[in-house]
Structures are given as C-alpha cells and as structure tokens.
C-alpha cells in the first residue's frame, strides 16, 4: 500500500511490493468488469467473502478501501462531504469513508480512479449506526444491502483459549445457537445472490475456497511463529501489515494462498540470513489496534531513532490464529459461520481478547504495547500484570483530526524511554 503523503515506509520485503502491484492490476480488472455491468460487492471485513469468491462475484473490502483513502490523505475531504450532506462523521470512520467518496463524486481525485458503484453491500451489524450507514449508502448508490446479524456470546464463562480450540473444535467451542443463526443467514444469502446475480453457487467450488483459506492461514501461522521467536525480528509491522492484508482480502483464492506462501518463504530466507528489520533492535513492541495506513513509515521511525521495532500487530496475529476452521466432514457453510461468528469477539471481548493479547505478547517476547484507539481495558490490565507496559492513545487511525505524526512520535518515544527500556534491558540480559 503506497502512501502519497504522511511518512512513507521503505519496503523490506520484495513480496509486499509485488502484492501492491498485483492489487492495483486486480482492481483495474474489477473496475473494468463493473463497468460492463458485472455484479460488484462492497463487503465489510466480517462478511462471508468466501461465498462471493466461490460465486465469482467481485468484491472490495470496506476496510481496505478506507485504508487506501486514508493513505491517499483523502479522509478529511470525505469526512467533510458527509457533514455537508447532514450525515455524522465522528463515529465508524473506518466504514463511512467510502460513503464520503460517493458523496464527493469526484472520481478524478479518488484513489485509483474511484470505487465502482456497488450492486451489493454487506456488513455485519456490529455497531449502533452500521445499519443506517449502509442503508444510506445503498440508497445513494442503488445497491442492494444484505445485513447480517452480529450475535453476542452471553455465556457466563466463554473460555479463553479460542486460538487452540477454534481450528478443529469450532462446533463445540462456539454456542450452537450463534452458529445456527449465521449458518441460516448464509444459506439465505446464497439463494439471494443466486437470484440477484444469476451466478451459481457450487458446493464443490466452495469447499475448495474454504480449503485454500485454511491453507493460507497455515502459511500465516508459520510466518507468525517465525517472526515471534526470531531476534532481531526479520520484519516489522510496516511490512507485515500490507503483506498479510492484501492476500487476506483475496482469501480463498489460489493467488491469496500462494501470496501467503511467498511471504512465509521470504521471512524464512531473512531468518536464515540473519537479516533483521532493525539490525539494532533493542525494544520489541506490539501495536494494538488498527494500522496507521496514512503514515506507515512512522513505525520505522521508531526503529531508526530508538531501535524499537513493532513486531506484532493484529493483522498477522489474526491471520495466524483467527481464520483456521478445519471442515473434517462437517458442513463447510457452518465452518464459514464459525469463522465469522467470533471475528469481532476475539479482538474486543474479554477474556478472549485479553488472554490472546497476553499469549501473543509472550510468544513474541514483547517489551511494551501501544494501544491505539482501542477499548481494551482488560487487555491493558492483563498485559501490565504480565510485565508488559501499555501506552493507550485515544485516536482513530483513519481520522487525522485525532492524531498527528508528532503526537504519536512524542507519546511513544516518552513511553519507550520511561517504561519499556527497563523491561527490554532485563530481557536482553536474560532476566
């Protein structure tokens, strides 16, 4: 993902550059097909991408497109257009930016020529205003909106070790009524898509997509494990964020699977060669929250100035732990439901989120964590209890009204010096 302003990152991995080129070419194809009247969907990250993949329906993921808008420094313009039209722009910024682009109606200045007019919109209703946002978006574009419910885990004790239990035991670990609900919704979606697009849903093809998605996740798990145990870290989040997420948005495709394999191979080569993202690595950090897509080079500033490497972000972490759902003779549609049901929970529902963050911090030998725009009191508390200091920054990643490079640099630098360095020194000394 290239930044047109902000702090540009320098690419460490060859593959991330080639992924970016692929994405650009792929998107040109999507635009071309949409122009000819092919169905085109805009989906949230927690929508059932695999169904669209199996039905050969082009889709773009809201969060990816918003990150591109942010990277092109167009966030403020599109947020202003929302306000001009009388819509709110101070919540759900990650989701509202593409609607702002629709309202701006300036394709010449939009990223990559602009998002094609969608024929389908889909999201899971995980926030108070999500339904209204997508209804407005659909009304403005003429798209059909397929909302999905987001149920809540109401159990008194939902357990903790989801990353161990979900890959194989998803139908025992997750409540059956939540799985039933989403599986039923997905079955209805398949029928609706068949009728509205004329495309056919092939159970065989869907099984292949699910299998490829699992194999892609296996690559990501191997990559994550390698990054975690290697000092100095072979790559930082400045590379892994785009190198993981571009293939993630192609989840279940042959290209996505092979791209994850390329990332894994390149990391393995760097480990074998003893190449670190920051040869002078002193401090290992984790980044809790969404990425700073408009200023990815900021992560590397800390490497250059402080020897502080952001080793972990949720992007590779989730790609490693969040998606594996082995089918083993069970219904693949229900397995997909099991992939989607806990998607937001693993990040934001204690104790799942807090237990996972601590597990990942310990696996990656983390010295300190920066929580950016996250509601993660329990994660912060458990990390602190585990000896990992946490800095919380109240901001929104794609809303540049809420942060600047200087404000983040100053806060993190002071935090590293005051609280993280002593922890890192003990680790380096083997304490």
């Amino acid at each position: 993902m290239a930044e047109s302003a902000g702090m540009r990152r320098r690419a460490v991995l060859d593959c991330s550059e080639s992924f970016a080129r692929y994405q650009r070419e792929w998107f040109e194809g999507v635009r071309a097909r949409a122009k000819t009247g092919e169905p085109f969907a805009v989906l949230s990250a927690d929508a059932p991408h695999e169904i669209y993949r199996a039905m050969d329906i082009d889709y773009v993921v809201v969060q990816w497109w918003s990150s591109l808008i942010a990277a092109k420094q167009l966030g403020p313009v599109y947020l202003a257009r929302l306000a001009d039209a009388g819509y709110p722009n101070d919540h759900d910024q990650y989701n509202v930016l593409p609607l702002g682009e629709v309202l701006a109606d300036e394709p010449a200045s939009a990223p990559w020529g602009g998002l094609p007019r969608p024929t389908i919109l889909q999201t899971s209703l995980s926030t108070d205003g999500m339904r209204q946002l997508f209804e407005v978006w659909a009304a403005r574009t003429g798209a059909v909106f397929y909302p999905l419910e987001h149920s809540v885990d109401v159990r008194a004790d939902p357990g903790e070790t989801w990353w161990e239990d979900l890959p194989h035991d998803w139908d025992r670990f997750l409540p059956a009524d939540r799985l039933d609900l989403l599986a039923d919704e997905l079955a209805a979606l398949v029928r609706a898509l068949e009728e509205t697009t004329g495309r056919r849903f092939s159970e065989s093809r869907f099984g292949e997509v699910m299998d490829l998605a699992n194999r892609q996740a296996e690559h990501n798990r191997a990559t994550r494990d390698l990054v975690a145990v290697t000092i100095p870290a072979p790559v930082s989040v400045a590379d892994t964020m785009p190198a993981v997420m571009i293939p993630q948005w192609h989840r279940g495709s042959q290209w996505g699977y092979e791209a994850a394999g390329r990332l894994r191979s390149e990391v393995e080569e760097r480990v074998a060669a003893g190449a670190g993202a920051c040869p002078n690595e002193r401090v290992r950090l984790m980044w809790l929250g969404r990425g700073l897509w408009s200023s990815m080079g900021l992560y590397q500033w800390f490497e250059d100035e402080l020897g502080a490497v952001f080793v972990w972000s949720m992007y590779l972490g989730l790609a490693a732990d969040g998606y594996l759902r082995y089918i083993d003779g069970r219904d693949p549609l229900r397995a997909l439901a099991a992939r989607l049901v806990p998607m937001g929970d693993v990040l934001r529902m204690p104790p799942w989120s807090s237990a996972w963050h601590v597990k990942e911090a310990q696996l990656h030998q983390i010295d300190g964590a920066v929580s950016f725009g996250e509601d993660d009191y329990f994660s912060a508390a458990r990390l602190e209890s585990a000896g990992v200091p946490v800095l919380s920054i109240r901001a929104d990643n794609v809303d540049r009204r809420t942060w600047t490079e200087a404000s983040v640099r100053d806060a993190v630098s002071e935090f590293v010096e005051a609280r993280v360095e002593p922890v890192a020194a003990r680790r380096r000394d083997g304490g």
Partner: protein, 388 residues
Amino acid sequence: MFGGSRWDAPLWDAYLHPAEVSDRWRAQGGRVVGLLGWTVPRELVTAAGMLPIRLSTRRLWRSRPPTAASYVPAVELTPAVSRVLSALLHDALDWLDGLVIGRDTEAHTKLFFVVRELQRTGSLPRDVPVAFFDLLRLPHRTSARYNRLRVAELLSVLADWAGRAVDDDDLVRGMDDRAATAASLRLLDERRTAPVPSVRGSQALVAAHAAAVLPGPEVRRWLAGAPRPRDPNDATCPMSSRSSVAGPRVFVTGSSREEVANYAVLERAGLCLVGEDHDWGDDGSDVLSPALDPLDRVVDSYQLAARAAARAGLAERMARTSARVLRTAPDAVLQLVHADDEASGWELAPLRAVLEVPVVSVNVDDGPAIGRVLEDAAVRVIEAVAGG
C-alpha cells in the same frame, strides 16, 4: 419543586426514588429485577412474580453518589453505562435481586462484557446476578428464531431468580398487565396531544418513567388522575397560558433523554413538548401483536419495535417517527443528539426529507452547560417556527 398534592406527585416519587419503590415491594416479600434498557421484556419479569424496574442511570444510588464513585475503564464506556458500572462496583444496587442488561446499544453489550469479566475474576463486591438479553433487530425469520431462544433462556433465568416456575398463564398475565398500562399511557397521551393539552411533556415523561418502575396496578391508579383537556384559556402549555394560541408544539427525537429536568428547561423556554420517539418516552402505542404462543407475542413486540435509533433500520424509524409526528401535529421537531450516540445522526437528513415541519438538530451532552444548550435549542426552534 414538583409539588406534593398534584396528580403526578406519586409518579415523580417513583421516578426520583426507585430504590424506595423496591424497598416497599421487597418489604412484602417480593423480589426486584433491574432492567437496563427498553429492549428487556418487562412482562417476563412480571410473569415471574417479580417487580421489574427499568434503571434510570442517574438514580441508581439511594443518596447522592460519592464523587469517588468512578471506575478506571469509564473512558471506554458511555457516561450512562459508566454510572451503572460504578454503582455495581460500589455495591449501590443492593436494592436489586438481579439485573438484566438489554442490547439497546453496543455500549450495553460492552458493559455486559466488563461486568461478566469482573464477576469471573471475583472483582465485584457483591455477586449481583446479571443476565444479558441479546435481542436481534432485523425483521427476518433467522433473527426471530434466535430471539425466541434468547427469550426462553431469559425466562428460565428469571424463573430461577424468582424460585418458581413460570407457565403460559403467568406470561399472559404479564402481558395483560403491560397492555393495561399501555392503555393508560395512551389516554394520557391523548390529553398531552390535545389541541390545548392538559398534560405537559415533562409530566408525560415522568409518567413513562413511573410506568417502568411501579407495579402496573399502582401506576395505572395514579395515571387515572391526570386532568382532562381544559378550556383553551386554562391550558398548561407555557405559551398558551399567555395566549389563546398554543405555543410552539414540538416533537422531540434523537438520543435517549432520561432526565425529565431537560424537558422542564425546554418548557420553561417556551416549548410545548407534545411527543417524542426516544426510548424513555412511552405513549402506549407499542402494543403486543396477537399470537398463539405468548412468547411469540413478546418476541415480535420487541424485535420489530423501533423505539430508539440505535441498531434500528432507517425505514422503520422514519415510518414510526413520521406517524407520530403526524398524530401529534407539532410545529417543529427537535433532535437532541449525544456525542456518544452513533445512530441518531443518521436520521437527520431523512427526517428533513420526509417531514413538512422544521427539524432543528442540536448536539448536547450531560455536562453542566446542558441547561444553556437546551435554552439555546428552544430559541432556535421558536425562530425556525416563526420563520415558517
């Protein structure tokens, strides 16, 4: 301030002192369940023989909460939800035998996660039984089936808290009680929305609060004392008391408006509040639809309601609001939006598109300046009406 001899005095008492209502009920051997939100079916609690009290988050403490009653993760929670957590942490909810959190907003979901984690780790001073009611809102069969499971589960929890079984006859009685109170509220609403109202908006809001606190028969007894519409020269509307022409009739929409004092400010500033569609208002129009199975009636009633903007569909909300605006015949609509309200803001543009009266939107919070903000809002409404 609110008078002791007026028909609404007992309603004010219930609104201001819910813990005392609980004490009276418990003194007779009953149990009390706190409901956080409008999406928790109170008739289920009634059916289980317990008293449901919907929690007003500013009236959780028996006395004024200590200034130290705060909690570290408050920054993650909305102010209203933080007050509930703070009360739980300081054991101020000793007047409840159980608490059901409804999924009105995702802030409530977050509160449930926080409370559950604190309970799981033994970090709450008292183990108040807490349940969460995950009501889905899409008008689909899949959501309806899921909701039936959740309602049955909640009923089972309530039966456990009550220490008794709950059968269909109990459910029907609970629903009949709700329906009777709704009928009383509808009658009150007729008096509020009459050409020259005999009931003020603030009184109607207090009545809605009281209906969510008091036992049904008791609140209906007090509501029966509401005055009939009077002669235009004797009307209670602030401006109509000075003129034979009623002052600006205003319909209130937007964020949940728990504080009756907010209405009082608007009325003193010259507005006649004839209706609202935020979740604390209740004009009795949300009636249970007929169904063979009592639980079906409950689920349909809540799943398809659109009493607040959060998690609702725009089309449903616009239909509901438009119908109410039409019925109450306001001169203007006032939308009051809290900073932490992620949903109401989406309704402004569609409201302006479908309504034929001015819609004034104002951002408010519950800080010390709220009185001034509301006074300014009233001035804007009056100017908008005057400007035609």
